[in-house]
């Protein structure tokens, strides 16, 4: 009898323990499902317009460049396309510097900018080749988007746009269909895990309308029929400094640190209508996760998976002395420097 009672007690404990387990499970499961499965990060940042009066577009793209670099995406995984060189423009009173506001608060040009496509290389063709991976033979490795199935890709576009297109340079434009096709081809070849598409241009929302690929989250500075506005003029250079949307985006990103808990959901609300004047458009229907639970560093930072490994393979193929033996080390070739006189003084005499 006592034994039976004991069994019963045990069974009850068992059941309650199981209940406890199942109560815990769903949340853990949801958590796991919400966590990103990416293994690396890429960023494609494009400024599509040139000429001095478009200073603000260069400042836009450099703002995002500065942020992703600060948050840890290495230069080898950032493709920067800038159609014009504002830092070294003859009209720039502060050579080598590009600022995001008239008070010269942040020099977005920074110390170290690696531009992958510059000037007339910024074309629709090159951009689509970059997205689809169909680069021409001889394209340098640093100019390719070498993402894989584990890559989270950030695409940022800025320039002058209209309903369904974005103008490149002053001669051509990319249509929303071409963009959607390019991204679909990336998806088909498993070249991204998740994609965050950001665009700051007039009627920006029209650019993401045709997307059909899964796992794409898109944000645009203005809806169709709206203009995106610039933030302010710097009287000393005579042009607009930066666009409103990117200005507030940078303001937000400056507060983000590499291990920050800030989410993409918060980032999507950086520019409410009262400050942006245009309405920020967001497209979430292709995106699987809840943006409020996605850390912003899933797209703007880079987490390289590292793992301490202290194993060794116990093979010894030579004595230590063999390597330190001076005979093996080839002596540096001696060379003599001859300084040729630049001006022949003798003739002058």
């Amino acid at each position: 009898m006592l034994f039976k009672a004991l069994l019963l007690v045990l069974a009850i404990i068992q059941i309650s323990a199981e209940e406890y387990d199942t109560a815990i499970l769903p949340e853990a499961y949801i958590d796991a499902a919400e966590r990103s499965t990416h293994t690396n990060n890429w960023a494609v940042l494009v400024d599509a317009s040139r000429f001095w009066f478009n200073y603000r577009h260069v400042a836009n793209v450099l703002s995002i460049y500065r942020s992703v670099k600060r948050l840890g995406i290495p230069d080898s995984q950032i493709i920067l396309m800038i159609a014009d060189d504002m830092a070294c423009n003859a009209r720039n009173p502060r050579p080598g510097q590009v600022y995001n506001n008239a008070n010269q608060h942040i020099n977005v040009y920074g110390d170290d900018v690696e531009v992958d496509y510059r000037g007339y290389e910024v074309t629709v063709e090159n951009f689509v080749r970059l997205l689809t991976g169909r680069t021409q033979n001889g394209t340098a490795r640093s100019k390719k988007l070498l993402s894989d199935a584990g890559s989270n890709v950030l695409i940022y576009l800025t320039g002058h746009g209209g309903d369904g297109f974005l103008k490149f340079q002053d001669s051509e434009e990319i249509t929303s269909q071409e963009l959607a096709d390019g991204i679909q081809q990336m998806w088909e070849k498993k070249r991204y895990n998740e994609l965050f598409f950001m665009v700051d241009t007039c009627q920006a929302a029209s650019l993401y309308e045709k997307f059909i690929s899964p796992n794409v989250l898109a944000v645009a500075s203005s809806l169709v029929g709206e203009d995106s506005l610039s933030h302010h003029v710097d009287p000393s250079i005579g042009v607009y400094m930066i666009d409103r949307y990117t200005y507030y985006a940078l303001e937000f990103l400056e507060k983000v640190q590499p291990f920050s808990k800030r989410t993409i959901g918060e980032f999507l609300q950086v520019c409410p209508k009262r400050v942006c004047i245009s309405t920020v458009g967001v497209r979430k229907d292709l995106y699987r996760r809840d943006p409020m639970k996605v850390p912003i560093i899933d797209f703007f930072g880079a987490i390289r998976p590292t793992r301490v490994s202290t194993g060794r393979i116990n093979v010894t193929l030579a004595n230590e002395e063999d390597f330190t033996d001076v005979a093996h080390i080839q002596p540096k070739k001696q060379f003599k420097i001859v300084v040729q006189p630049q001006f022949i003084a003798k003739i002058n005499k």
Binding site: A33, T37, S76, D148, A149, D181, E188, A302
Partner: protein
């Protein structure tokens, strides 16, 4: 004529055959032989194992019993027994053998060749578990072939070519006067090792010294009992950022091949010796090794200078010249390469022990599992690539398909079929070579630059451009027809009356 000159050249492709590629699953034949002292036991194990593998999605495992023989009783070492067995029953690539050895400590002992020793009381369950987790690596193959994006593998398939760049970083050569013939070290260890595993990818080894490349990470001083009285702690969480800070200076992007970086970092005595600490503030150094890896980027070894060198620095003596220990660092580097190339298998199974590697080559079963996995990976990736390319080409009718792309697609398709057949016919190396070729061809086809040439000239634009051009031209032509008709009518009227 206008229509003909503007029509798009599209070579014919085996579209329907490529779409049918996924109908036929990838199945691999593996031969496993079992030797026991009592034939009944082997018989029993085989029946049980055959049942266990009956419903396998990927494997067709053919079990074979090795009959006992007289000489077996005379052998005193497992190695000798294995040798005798191999003389009778030679193995080919990808095969495996279980040999009973009653005096074994563990239930199963994996050798460095294609065999495992088993104790007499091992259950068939354990053997099946070992086969799945270590030899066949079913869970990894599952990841490769899974269509669920949360499970599926996130890394790239093995590329046909890699650059292996060994970089020695010495940020302050004036403080740490380190000497090392790193080129010779690479020739002695790394190159021969890579030469033995170059069936899937070929490797080019380069070495370089980099001075004044500082790592950006917070290093905290920690007091200790050594003569120096202190060492520096590097937080584990700071490692990813550290790699990003040095990656730019390694100039790996010069060549067109993907790079595997192997970094040996010599900390200057001002921040050395340097050790890695985890979040719980525990030192992670084992056997004097401070190293970490970040696949697929590469590995990082901290080669602390000897105590005497840093002691001299602390006493403000002139810097001592010293040699970096080659054997020590190369052993760690070899282990890192095993992990980076994804050859080593780190799954632990209770009761199973694995013999340590004591030669340069990887364990044969491990390497063959890697080849098998890579072959399956290449076949799966190439099939996916071809299918998505066909889908794309069918969807967009104005993409040019030139003969080069068409040949690449056709070759890749035939190689996929051949590789699948080779896996079924138990020709592993052949299958691997075919799969690799199929993969290379499919990538070449998909990423061919010519596929984009006329993307900006779709049919609608053709009408939009040519109709306004040709229609005005057609007006005088058409009106001249009218004129001719009138002329003929008039002539007839003249004739009739």
């Amino acid at each position: 004529m206008w229509w003909k000159t503007t029509s798009v050249h599209r070579a014919s492709l085996p579209s329907s055959a490529i779409e049918r590629l996924s109908d036929q699953p990838i199945k691999t034949v593996v031969h496993v032989s079992i030797y026991t002292q009592q034939p009944e036991r082997a018989q029993l194990l085989i029946t049980e194992l055959q049942n266990a593998f009956k419903d396998s999605d990927f494997w067709i495992v053919k079990f074979k019993q090795l009959p006992p023989f007289a000489k077996a009783a005379e052998t005193h070492t497992p190695a000798a027994l294995e040798k005798l067995l191999l003389q009778e029953h030679p193995q080919s690539e990808g095969d495996f053998m279980f040999i009973e050895w009653p005096k074994l400590e563990d239930e199963l002992l994996l050798t460095t060749e294609r065999s495992a020793l088993m104790r007499s009381d091992v259950t068939s369950n354990k053997i099946a578990q070992l086969l799945h987790s270590k030899i066949l690596q079913t869970y990894r193959v599952n990841q490769i072939l899974s269509t669920d994006e949360r499970i599926s593998v996130k890394s790239e398939a093995p590329q046909p070519e890699y650059d292996v760049v060994i970089s020695v970083l010495n940020p302050k050569p004036k403080i740490t006067n380190a000497q090392w013939n790193v080129a010779l070290a690479a020739q002695t260890y790394i190159e021969p090792f890579l030469a033995q595993i170059s069936d899937i990818s070929s490797y080019t080894v380069r070495t370089q010294w980099k001075y004044r490349v500082a790592i950006e990470a917070e290093m905290k001083q920690v007091r200790d009992q050594t003569k120096l009285g202190r060492h520096y702690a590097l937080q584990e969480s700071a490692l990813p950022h550290l790699l990003t800070s040095i990656a730019q200076n390694l100039s790996g992007s010069i060549s067109d091949r993907p790079v595997i970086n192997l970094v040996v970092y010599i900390p200057p005595c001002s921040t050395g010796p340097l050790h890695i600490y985890n979040k719980k503030n525990e030192m992670l150094t084992r056997d004097g090794v401070d190293a970490f890896i970040s696949p697929p980027w590469g590995g990082f070894i901290i080669a602390n200078p000897p105590e005497s060198v840093c002691l001299a620095y602390m006493n403000d003596e002139p810097p001592q010249q010293y040699y970096v220990n080659t054997n020590d660092n190369m052993q760690v580097m070899l282990d890192q390469l095993h992990k980076l190339l994804d050859i080593s298998n780190e799954v632990q199974v209770a009761g199973v022990k694995t013999v340590d590697i004591e030669q340069l080559a990887p364990r044969r079963w491990e390497y063959e599992a890697y080849i098998r996995r890579s072959a399956i990976r290449h076949i799966a990736t190439a099939s996916n690539t071809l299918q998505s390319l066909i889908k794309l080409l069918d969807q967009i009718s104005y993409i040019v398909i030139d003969d080069k792309v068409a040949t690449a697609i056709a070759n890749s398709h035939s190689d996929i079929l051949a590789a699948k057949a080779a896996l079924l016919e138990h020709r592993l190396m052949n299958a691997s070579a075919l799969a690799k070729r199929a993969f290379v061809f499919s990538e070449r086809g998909f990423f061919d630059a010519s596929l984009l040439a006329q993307l900006y000239f779709p049919d609608e634009q053709k009408y939009a451009i040519y109709i306004p051009l040709f229609l005005p031209v057609m007006v005088p032509v058409l009106s001249s027809f009218n004129m001719l008709r009138k002329l003929l009518d008039r002539k007839r009227k003249v004739k009739q009356p």
